[in-house]
Structures are given as structure tokens and as C-alpha cells.
Amino acid sequence: MVDPITLLIMVLAIGIGGLLVSIGVHFVPVGGAPAAMAQATGIGTGTTMLAASAGFLGLISAGLVMEEMMIGKIEYASFVAAVGDGTLFSPAGIVANIGGIAMILAAGIIGAMLMMVILGGVSNILYVYGLGVPLVSAKVKYDPITGDRQDLYVTRGTEGHGTPTVALVSAVIGGILGGFGGSLIYLVFLAGGFSVAAAAIGAIGIFFVNSVLASYNITGTIEGFHDPKFKRWPRAFVASAIASIIIGVWVAAIIYMGVA
């Protein structure tokens, strides 16, 4: 029997994880079809799938690190024991195993970050050498990070092309939030007694719910935190909070009844 406070913390953790995914999606420079025609700034994949691609590499990395802990390749014995007996998300369990939790979350973050920089970086090589266009944004006159002038480098009839520095940094921030959220949700499932496969599928499902909600809010393309559309994030925050908490309650109910 899992105690009510642990269950409450698990619901909150799923809520926080979902919210981080949803906010992280807003940071990702999504160009979709216009980006694939060098007609708008960003990466040429749809919102949900771009965020999911990064989040999934984070999830895979987190799963691998969890396994290395289980087999004792890296020393987190009390953390592994706490995951096994379901006490990880009790207040005492969190305090005692904060190092192990941080390790899993860091694995998720680094995996998602790497996927984002490679996605943005490799497509930029194609923009520069395959298409012959500079990397530029049309939403701001000066790049907020490098201070480079943008509007003079935009080709006629387009809204920018490629992923300039500000958009790539924004993508990395999005990856950090998405990777953190995804691996946190995975950890909750594991600590709740779900099998590895069920935990992975559950984390993927909650990731998709929140990234789809965020992409409805974005409607099409966004360049990152410097884009005017970014100001819409509070609406996605409310929607994702409601959705994630409801899912969290269901997960808690499954854990409470011991059918996981």
C-alpha cells in the first residue's frame, strides 16, 4: 500500500513533468512546411514531432542510465532500492535519493539537448551549403544573443531561413525542459511499480498529450522565446496543468490499486 502523501507527490510530479514538456515545446523553433521551403525560420518538422524527437532521445538516455544503476555499474544502491519498493517519491525518499533523481533527470536533459543541437545544426549545414541562404530570423531586427542585424539578410518574399543562434539556443532550452519533464514522468511510473515497457509507453503518452496541447496553442510556426507567439504560453500552461493532473490522478489510482 502506497501512502497518500507519496501518491500526492507523484500526481504533482506528473503535473510538473507535463507542464515542463508543454512550456518546452514553446521554446522549440518549429518551421514546418514553410521552413522546408526556406520560407520561414526554424526546423522543418511539425511541432509535436520535433519536440517528441528530442524528448524521446532524453527518455532513451534516462532509461539506459537507470539500467546502469540497476546493474550496479554506477553506485546508487539506495536509489535503486527506493525505486524498487515504491518509497522514492515519499518526502524522506526524495531527500535521501536526490542525487539519483538528479542523475536520471540530467540524463533526460542531455539526451534531449543533443538531439536538438544536431537537428538544428545538421539542417543548418544544408541551408548554408545546399540552398545558399544565411541563417536569419525575420521576427526580430537584431538577434537578442549575438546582436547581429537580421532584416538585411532575409531574402525577398520570405520570413527568414534556417536556425540562427537565438533560435538554436531556444531549441536547447526547449530540449532541456522537455527532457526534464519526460524523464521525470518515466521515473514516477517506474517508482509506482510499472514495468519498464509500461513506464516507457506511459511517459511517451503523457509527452504526446502535452506537446499536442502546446502545438494547438502555437498554431503553425514559432521561432523560439523571441517570437511574439511565445507570449501565448500561459494558455498552454493552464490546459497542460489540467490535462496532466487528470492523467496523474489516474496513474495514482492505478498505483494505489496495485494493478500496475
Binding site: A33, A36, M37, I43, G44, T45, G46, M49, A52, F56, L57, I60, G63, L64, V65, M66, E67, E68, M69, M70, I71, K73, I74, E75, M103, A106, I110, M113, L114, M115, V117, I118, L119, G120, G121, V122, S123, N124, I125, L126, G130, L131, G132, V133, P134, L135, D151, L152, Y153, T155, R156, G157, G162, T165, V169, V172, V196, A197, A200, I204
Partner: protein
């Protein structure tokens, strides 16, 4: 030491599989115009540009590939589990079956998408259907086989705990994401609009005006793949291969340092190097190509 050598050797094989998978995925999606900007191929007849391009984009590449690879790996897993078939053979059979299923998906999607465009005068060309669909199936087989193989290696030898059909689904989605982000740019901007000057993006006013004439006769999807194989396909392959290789390389080599934190620090440094490299590329492009206008203020 031996374990490390086996892991690194497996990783090299996985990286090679991923590179092949990425290239095959991008070319397959170019054959079927599942790549962005598939909306332009759909739009073209509506603005008077009737074409002979195959068009099967009823779902995005990532989802399509997630399920192609998951079904290949799941069938392979079932064959190995139930009939004790050698995994290499099981994966080959699984990939063949899922590639044929993908061919059914492609055929129905092509017929369905173009049937809806009858009112704009867009015909359904049966010769296009009969020549392009086998190419789609062949490329889908290569991609499904490569992805399910490296997912199996990831699970069985590297020790990733997710069941390998789930890994194949995740890697399929990531492969589609990579193909969509990288290869589509070459297809969407350069190939479909080769009449625009090199060195500019597509002006919004030209949307839908895709090129109808090929190097010899009327252009079709096979001509498109012949062009994208020079740049879009290989870059997608390199992107996916690098993703698999860099993420696992830093994990395998550095996980034992600082009780696991070594791998995280290495990953962070790799991401920083990419960011710096991207900045250098950005500066090079700005200095070489631009500016296109004079500053008025």
C-alpha cells in the same frame, strides 16, 4: 576492457545502420512526397500546375516511420520468440512484411489524395503508381531493417532496458523527425522549385508553382529522388548517424567517471561545441552571401 570494446564495436555498427536508415528514409519520403513541402504538391493543381508527382502524405514522416519500424521489430520479435527463428532472419521477414504494409498505405494514400483533386483536373497516373510504389517499398524495407537492427543491438548488447519494438518505434519517430528537418529542405526548396535562383528561399507568392518538366520529359517522383540523393539523403543519414553515435559514445566512454556525471558533462560539452560550430557557420554564411539590402537607418 573487453566489454568496452564490444560496446564500441556495436556502437559503430549502430551508427552505420542509422546512417543508412536516415538516407533511405529521406529518399523514400521524397519518392512519395511525404516530405515537406507536400502541401505544395497538393496545392499545385489548385493553382493550375498539374503534375506527375506521387503524393502519399496522409500522415507526417515521424508517425509513419514510427509505426513502420515498430511493426517490423514487433513481427521480428514475435517470430524469434514464438518460433525461435534466428534474429537476423526474423528481422528481415518482419521488415519485408512491414514494408509491404507500407506499400499498401502508400497506394491507398496516393489514390485517396489525388481522387480528392479531380475537380482541379489532376489525373491519377497508373504508370506512376506502378513504378514508384515498388521503389517506396524497397526504400522502406532498407530503413525498417536498419532501424530495427540497431534497435535490437541497442537492447541486446548495449543493454537499453526498453523492449526493442518500443525502441524501434522511438527511433522510427526520431528518424522521421530528422528526415523532416534536414532532407525535406533540399526537396522542398531546391528540387520542387528549381526555377528560382540558387541562394534564396521560396517567396510566399510562388507557393504551389512546382516544376512540371524534368530533365527528360515530364518530371516524376523518381527524378526527384535522383536529385535529393546528392545532398538531402546523405545529410539526413549523417544527422541520424551522429545522433546515435554521439549520444551513445559519450555514454559508453564517460559513464564510469564521477559516478555517472562524467557522461552528462561530456554530453553538455558536445552540445556546446555544436552551438559554437553553428555560430561559426552562421557567420560564414552572413559574410559570404549577404547582406541583400542596404541599411536605411
Amino acid at each position: 576492457m573487453e566489454e568496452l570494446v564490444v560496446s564500441l564495436g556495436t556502437l559503430a555498427l549502430m551508427g552505420a545502420c542509422a546512417t543508412i536508415a536516415g538516407a533511405a528514409e529521406d529518399l523514400e519520403s521524397d519518392f512519395g512526397s511525404q516530405s515537406n513541402a507536400n502541401s505544395q504538391v497538393q496545392l499545385a493543381p489548385q493553382v493550375g500546375y498539374v503534375h506527375r508527382i506521387y503524393n502519399k502524405a496522409i500522415c507526417g514522416e515521424p508517425v509513419g516511420y514510427g509505426f513502420l519500424c515498430a511493426s517490423a521489430a514487433a513481427i521480428g520479435f514475435a517470430l524469434q520468440f514464438a518460433f525461435a527463428i534466428n534474429i537476423v532472419l526474423a528481422l528481415a521477414i518482419g521488415s519485408t512484411i512491414s514494408a509491404i504494409l507500407y506499400g499498401i498505405f502508400a497506394t491507398t494514400a496516393y489514390m485517396g489524395r489525388l481522387t480528392g483533386q479531380k475537380r482541379f483536373g489532376q489525373p491519377i497516373y497508373l504508370d506512376i503508381l506502378l513504378t514508384t510504389t515498388p521503389s517506396i517499398i524497397a526504400h522502406a524495407f532498407i530503413a525498417a531493417m536498419a532501424i530495427s537492427t540497431f534497435s535490437y543491438l541497442f537492447s541486446a548488447i548495449i543493454g537499453q532496458p526498453f523492449p526493442f519494438p518500443i525502441l524501434a518505434m522511438l527511433w522510427g519517430i526520431m528518424t522521421g523527425g530528422m528526415g523532416s528537418a534536414v532532407g525535406d529542405v533540399h526537396y522542398g526548396t531546391e528540387r520542387q522549385y528549381m526555377n528560382k535562383p540558387f541562394g534564396c528561399g521560396l517567396a510566399a507568392s510562388n507557393s504551389g508553382k512546382i516544376i512540371q518538366q524534368g530533365e527528360a520529359g515530364i518530371r516524376n517522383s523518381i527524378d526527384v529522388a535522383g536529385f535529393c540523393v546528392k545532398h538531402g539523403g546523405p545529410m539526413t543519414g549523417i544527422g541520424l548517424g551522429l545522433t546515435v553515435f554521439l549520444d551513445l559514445w559519450r555514454h559508453i566512454i564517460f559513464i564510469e567517471y564521477l559516478n555517472g556525471w562524467g557522461a552528462m558533462i561530456a554530453g553538455f560539452i558536445i552540445a556546446l561545441i555544436w552551438l559554437i560550430g553553428n555560430r561559426m557557420l552562421e557567420l560564414w554564411a552572413r559574410n559570404t552571401y549577404g547582406p541583400y539590402k542596404k541599411a536605411e537607418d
